[in-house]
Amino acid sequence: MTIFLTYLKVFAVGGIICVSGQILINFTKLTSARILVIFLLLGVFLEAIGVFKYLKDFAGAGVTIPITGFGSNLAKGAIKGAKESGFFGAVTGGVKAAAAGLSGAIFIGFFVALFSNSKSKT
């Protein structure tokens, strides 16, 4: 039962975040790059003001799987770096924390693209 409730929350919150993106697409001329940037910055902002961890406690992957989670990771790393090693940490901490996403996307993207060919769009 608890598992069901957890997944229901993940589904609902993740769904609502995507719905707000869809509403932005339907009613403005925003392209997907801008949508991604908006939600990323939202994640950075929510982490910076300390709200994100409560959302994460509530909805788990519902907020961490959307790109807001990536933004929150960047901000969390920078804050941690700033506290541990001052200016140097503030500059390097973000990328350090988001390394899995960045490095993974680049490496996997490169190899998948090398071994697959573009499909004709129908």
């Binding site: 993940v10 589904f11 769904g15 995507c18 719905v19 697409i25 992957a61 503030a90 693209a113 697959s116």
Partner: protein, 150 residues
């Protein structure tokens, strides 16, 4: 210039009036469904790592591995042409999750591959992801510097 803006606003308004409400409802519903399912899959992968594969590992390790796994799955699905179909159905539901970010790296890379590996594949990987990385890293540095003073 201002006139142009107003004209285009008017035009958009009229277009919107012509767009049936049912289309909004259906795209929003599909975005909800797709986004919700992708997040649940993410939660599932993270739970599998946490409870079975990597018992007692640090939370950051599990989160990072979950991200990597999802990016890998998305990369393969994009390579097979399946993610395009998910995208057609799910709209923002397939863009906003981290899968959308991974797809935005892989998809243009495949598309421009015929222009060469260096100038086609590699330099086009970041046509969409580039702004995300630039804004993300810049914002994180700003946040870090702010936290030096608070």
């Amino acid at each position: 210039m201002r006139l142009d803006k107003e004209e285009s606003k008017k035009y958009l308004k009229e277009i919107r009036r012509d767009m049936p409400a049912s289309k909004h409802i259906s795209t929003v519903f599909r975005a909800f469904l797709t986004g919700g399912i992708i997040c649940c899959i993410g939660q599932g992968i993270s739970d599998i790592y946490k409870n079975f594969l990597l018992k007692g590992a640090e939370e950051d390790t599990i989160a990072g591995l979950t991200t990597l796994t999802i990016i890998l799955i998305t990369g393969i699905l994009t390579g097979l042409g399946v993610y395009d179909k998910i995208g057609n159905f799910g709209g923002a539901g397939s863009i906003v999750p981290i899968t959308g970010f991974a797809n935005s790296v892989v998809s243009p890379a495949i598309e421009h591959k015929r222009e060469g590996v260096i100038l086609g594949l590699c330099s086009n990987m970041f046509t969409i992801a580039g702004p995300v990385i630039v804004f993300g890293i810049s914002a994180s540095v700003i946040v870090g510097i702010i936290y030096l003073f608070v």
